[in-house]
Symmetry: C2
């Protein structure tokens, strides 16, 4: 269990060493060129201020290290025909990855304008961080990237997600030593307990210990060697140290170490696969301790720059004011000897170019980094087969997520052989009641297993770890490499990955407009144990705001569904699993609840996304007095119960019930492709009747979606207004004025024709609320009339006779 140190071997013969060094110089040259130059790419004329970009943007510090790693990985790939992709945690080292994909030829294949000649190099330089050009990070535009690395912390989880079910793939995963301080990264090391050496590929973590972040040293760089080793051994790795700054020594050491760790990975895999032994091994990793800004200016204006945080961004700046910086830049770039690297035409010299792998083995061309290329449809069972039988709407009880769980179980079964579907959950698969999936597969587990453990094995396809970050990151990596997945989570705690969602949504938005990127499978969330039914927990577990967050992202890639019952949940889930390149958010309850739609009705309702529930309305053939709209399972229940109260007390009142499954239908069609036309909206919601809208989430979201609609002025929304605690389910809606009694009062207050006569009814409704409080404070559960309420009108249109 101690770390590995290597001898003074020299695996690289002089010529190879020379070439590898030259290759690295070329990558460094091109990196500096991208950051600085507008023109004169090969420095064939003396460098002048006008050759330099007016705005110097980008990050040098991390780049030489990333380049160093790249050339050595190339060597290993080529020598051993490896199937490898490269994840750059410090994605701000974008110039390095662009430079390397340019050198290996992939860049010009994707972007023929950036050819391998002088003019191409000039464009390559100019476009970087330049208007109309490319971003400064390892963004979707960069060939070979599945990880932009803009927001730090997700390199390792993406790497692990990518290698699950990809037994031949190795992800070389560079982790910044600053990045390693983030929460997501710090827990990601434990991903090795969820990796099966038989069916999964390998992640080779390379800790890029360059000592600094933006303006501080890093924690890991300032531990004793013993602590650092202990830490990684504790995380389950065997760390190999590659440390130094002398290029020659470092090349030898890196080459030797890489050969060694690749051999170890292969031997672990061979051992596991031949003997069918999936026992967790101690996976190798590399700690690369090298100077930040390696090979860059040692000092600038008398201040230490190489091997210091000052090299993080642009070590030489203020060119216009400090002409000596132009000279320093020229010296620096010339130190890479471009004349030895690029020929007359500006083309990378052939004897160096041949160091790179060829075809799809080039890391910029590996199809795993453009997952849509590899994506296959899921085999899908017919979701109709899982339908809950409904004879009378609003009388049957079922647990929606449990029903969906059976469907997911069979999705799992049908795709067991292709191994391209996984389910993620932060220890909540059972709690969220989709545990039928465990009939089809186990939970993935590759730490110790005890006899009493159930549904846990190294072959499991349900990934459970108490880290929403890891669930999200693994799933992203899995999807980005062309597979499918499903993430079920407590609604409140999905906020933990708000920013990860942001980054994924940005990735989807951008790749949609990059022609060579193929669409990937959608990221599907099932948010349950939701705000209204966190019975065991209370206030800290009550937050329906993820929808608000999601809707800030581009309409073209986000979808939000609130199926009111099990059959609609089935239909929506089926739809989401077949969709591409979206983020789908499904919110549905796990508790026993009334069911409304049979499968046929559910499909129609979900296809439209919004609809009048005729069986619950009594306004057919006339104008409604009020529109009662609802979205979400609990609000739907309360709306129907309010309608019941209204119909019982005001038989003459014409009530229209509208249910919204697809929240995007509310938006104008100009804003979202699912948006209803104004004509359709007006005909459903009228242009002048009061609308009482019972919403699952924060009420103002409905206003935000509908403020341009004709009848917005008559829209009155009830929803969660941040009132909660550990109490009864009905009390939760009462606390937020979303209960049947408040909804009925809301109607009464908005309909002049009953306003005065209804005083008695209104008083009765207030009395009910008082009864409710007394009852629950005494008995601790909801009143029987609440608990046992069922829907009871099935007469022909306008018939007010309740069923007995």
């Amino acid at each position: 269990m101690v770390e590995a140190t290597l001898g003074k071997a020299t695996p690289l013969a002089a010529e190879e060493l020379h070439k590898i060094h030259a290759y690295w110089r070329a990558a460094n040259y091109l990196s500096v060129g991208q950051i600085y130059l507008l023109d004169n790419p090969l420095l064939r004329e003396p460098l002048k201020l006008e050759h330099v970009k007016p705005r110097l943007l980008g990050h040098w510090g991390t780049t030489p290290g990333l380049n160093f790693i790249y050339v050595h990985l190339n060597r290993a790939i080529k020598a051993q025909d490896l199937n490898m992709i490269y994840i750059a945690g410090p994605g701000h080292g974008g110039p390095g990855l662009v430079a390397n994909t340019y050198l290996e030829g992939t860049y010009s294949e994707f972007y023929p304008n950036i050819a391998q000649d002088v003019e191409g190099m000039k464009q390559l330089f100019k476009q970087f961080s330049f208007p109309g050009g490319i971003p400064s990070h390892v963004a979707p535009e960069t060939p070979g990237s599945i990880h932009e690395g803009g927001e730090l912390g997700y390199a390792l989880v993406h790497g692990y997600g990518a290698v699950f079910d990809n037994p031949d793939l190795i992800v070389a995963c560079v982790v910044g030593d600053g990045e390693a301080e983030t929460g997501a990264l710090a827990t990601s090391w434990h991903s090795n307990k969820f990796l099966n050496p038989i069916h999964d590929g390998a992640v080779l973590p390379i800790l890029h210990l360059n000592g600094y972040k933006i303006a501080n040293p890093t924690v890991l760089a300032r531990l004793s060697r013993e602590e650092l080793e202990s830490l990684f051994v504790g995380y389950g790795y065997k760390p190999y140290f590659v440390e130094g700054s002398d290029p020659e020594t470092m090349h030898q050491l890196m080459a030797e170490t890489l050969d060694r760790v690749i051999a170890e990975i292969k031997s672990i895999q061979r051992e596991a696969r031949v003997h069918h032994n999936s026992h967790r091994p101690q996976w190798p990793m590399i700690v690369l301790r090298s100077p930040k800004g390696w090979t860059g200016p040692k000092e600038v204006d008398g201040k230490k720059t190489e091997d210091y945080w000052r090299s993080h961004q642009v070590p030489l700046a203020n060119m216009a004011r400090q002409p000596d910086h132009v000279r320093l830049l020229e010296e620096w770039m010339k130190s890479y000897k471009p004349e030895e690297l690029f020929d007359e035409n500006g083309t990378f010299v052939a004897e160096l170019a041949e160091l790179a792998p060829t075809g799809d083995r080039r890391m910029g061309a590996n199809p795993h980094a453009n997952g849509g290329l590899l994506l296959k449809d899921l085999r899908m069972p017919d979701f109709r087969d899982y339908a809950v039988e409904i004879t009378k709407a609003g009388t049957t009880i079922a647990e929606a997520t449990r029903v969906a769980g059976r469907f997911l179980r069979d999705v799992m079964r049908l795709n067991a052989d292709t191994r391209n579907f996984r389910i993620m959950g932060p220890d909540e698969t059972a709690s969220n009641r989709i545990d039928a999936v465990l009939e089809a597969t186990d939970r993935m587990w590759n730490a110790e297993i005890l006899p009493e453990d159930e549904h846990i094995s190294p072959d499991g396809r349900v990934m459970e770890v108490l880290s929403e970050n890891m669930c999200q990151g693994w799933l992203e990596g899995y999807l980005l490499t062309g597979r499918h997945g499903f993430f079920s989570c407590y609604e409140a705690f999905i906020h933990i990955i708000d920013s990860m969602f942001n980054q994924h949504a940005k990735w989807l938005k951008t790749t949609r407009h990059i022609p060579w990127r193929r669409p990937i499978a959608s990221l599907n969330y099932l948010l349950t144990s939701h705000v209204w039914r966190q019975d065991h927990n209370g206030f800290s577990h009550q937050d329906p705001g993820f929808i608000d967050h999601v809707l800030n992202k581009k309409a073209e890639i986000v979808r939000v569904y609130l199926p009111p019952d099990a059959n609609t949940l089935l239909s929506v889930t089926d739809h989401c699993l077949r969709s591409r390149h979206y983020v789908n958010v499904i919110i549905a309850g796990k508790q026993p609840a009334l069911q409304y739609l049979d499968m046929d009705a559910a499909i129609k309702h979900c296809t439209k996304g919004i609809g009048i529930w005729e069986w619950a309305s009594n306004d057919r053939g006339s104008e409604p007095d009020v529109v009662m709209a609802c979205a979400g399972d609990v609000p739907t229940l309360e709306t129907l119960a309010a309608v019941d109260l209204l119909r019982e007390n005001f038989p003459e009142l014409k009530v229209r019930v509208v249910n919204v499954v697809d929240l995007m239908t509310l938006q104008p069609e100009t804003e979202h492709s699912h948006g209803l036309s104004d004509k359709d909206f007006d005909s459903i919601f009228t242009t002048d009747k009061p609308i009482i809208f019972a919403f699952h989430g924060y009420p103002w979201l409905i206003h935000r979606l509908t403020y341009r609609r004709t009848n917005h002025k008559n829209l009155h929304v009830r929803g969660y207004k941040e009132e909660g605690t550990t109490t009864t389910p009905f009390d939760m809606v009462v606390l937020n004025d979303l209960d049947r009694f408040h909804l009925a009062i809301d109607v009464i207050e908005r309909i002049p024709k009953i306003y005065y006569t209804a005083a008695y009814v209104k008083q009765m409704l207030y009395d009910k609320l008082i009864d409710h409080k007394h009852y629950i404070n005494k008995y601790g559960e909801d009143m029987p009339e609440i608990l046992n309420w069922k829907w009871r009108y099935y007469g022909s249109d306008g018939d007010q006779t309740p069923l007995q």
Copy 2:
């Protein structure tokens, strides 16, 4: 550097052992009682179904372990007069903390209704997770709590935050082994590199290795002992293992271990303080490996329950359907022998009660857990002294955050002695340009320091670590224990702590209504490097959505400020630092930008929160044709430049310029105490003129805030619509139609009197946009007319003559 194991010592004499065990039994008895019983608290009559709560809510599994720790901490506190508080990471073990504070007497002091007699015990039991009662977690209602533990992951950061600058305080910090899998927790262990043994107190982490989470084993419980040890040694701790299940042995072991680690903590502190040596020691920690659901039912319905995940929530349920469960419950509770623990009156017997510490030493009464009690005002410099000199609005250039940094520097200086102010930042203090603070103090650093390091020392009060989670968590812990702080962060990445913010906001909301909780200092965010000026980075760094997230929380505790320039930022910062019990979000740029208001005007503007900028308007004495509103520094600039275009081209046009600093003014006064009355709103925004609102964030937020206002129908908002990349600053606004040209066009399109005649101007504006694209694509920077634009009207009202 290896772990510590202890001998077979027996520090507890027989009687003490007996008493400690009895105390633990009492806590366990009361915990089970809270989860299950409505009545018959002392089981003096045979237990019947009607004594049992109809809804069984709560979490047993973690509770006996939490209780075990509590009684042993009590012993240590009492024996050594320790100043200690208790943080329960698995806060779902609420019954345990309630039980213990009840036993020690604090509970009844805070809640006299819950007396130490039979009736009190009955109420204690009933209220738990009961309507009108208390939440199931270690919520704000629980004496001694600064950490609800509902959302897992923040125990350690809260603990460290609490002990900073509290040299005498020890936080006993229980970390769930499941919780330890979260990202936040996994990185929090490194907090020890930010702790100074001289000035700070100590955190004693107790890893609660009970093996399971909700329905899974935990990763840490299934590592080899060697790996586990290595991990914690790697994190910088010296782990002591307390392992087993036999109570007697475990009591001895725990007592011995606690004595040992407390002695070690004291000796570390003595060593550091006497020799003034703040070198980072290897701090002790405890790994408590004990069964989940310890002392609970071994099996339920033939299934393993004790020492298994099945004991996580309520091991015995379905009482009504399974009457044998009532009997099992009775047996279980009687196994604690309540008759030995509580006297005739139901009062805890005196000889056990005296085991607890007394007065403020009781962990439920320690004032550090009710930080408002200890809170002292900051000494504040006069922010006016830092003002940027403004002679003509819109002509001077300054960097707002740099100016604020000088003010913060002096806040830091003035409070250096009292040591009650810290600044947090994820490696961005310099990048965000508030680094003047480093003239007053260093960055806190207690790992290795090299000669070339600058502004880094173990005495620093600026906390920089590349983890937004740690920054947030430390700050929360620091504030909750009665101190002040300031957190500066890139705007986009603050989303990483969305859910932590949620929990803190919920804490503030709840404590506002708990009479014995005193208000604490506000949590102040400075979000900079914002969406419009992420010049080096691009799309992944562009997200202004934190405001949307914040505004979902209760109006009474959230405030959002968008100061348009340096002097307004100074005024707002001063205000926030003096405020109490809010979350204040300040959004301000760090780039050189035009300045508008002199200090006097800035103070007035910020005090109102919104105002007409008369110097920029020309409608005085008449009705405006259009209201140009803006919020945020960049939108303000674009608005003024648009006004310039309009005034130049349409001298007859009456334009009113409104700037919003305090976003909450836009909301109705019924929704937020800062909200303008409708009268005021209407007089500023008119009831019928077009309003063009240039907003810093997502545009629909403004609609959400204003949809009830009279003139909402004429409101047209421009903001960030998720278009971005690495480009020029002006191009960013162009991409989102927020630029001066689009704004001017927006106006033209909405004012009939110029609509037709303006066709030429409109075309000119479109041409400008084309010029812009060509220019930046060629030169990489914005057109000189953009870069050099300044405000130029200072005539008397209505005077259209630009200044030369």
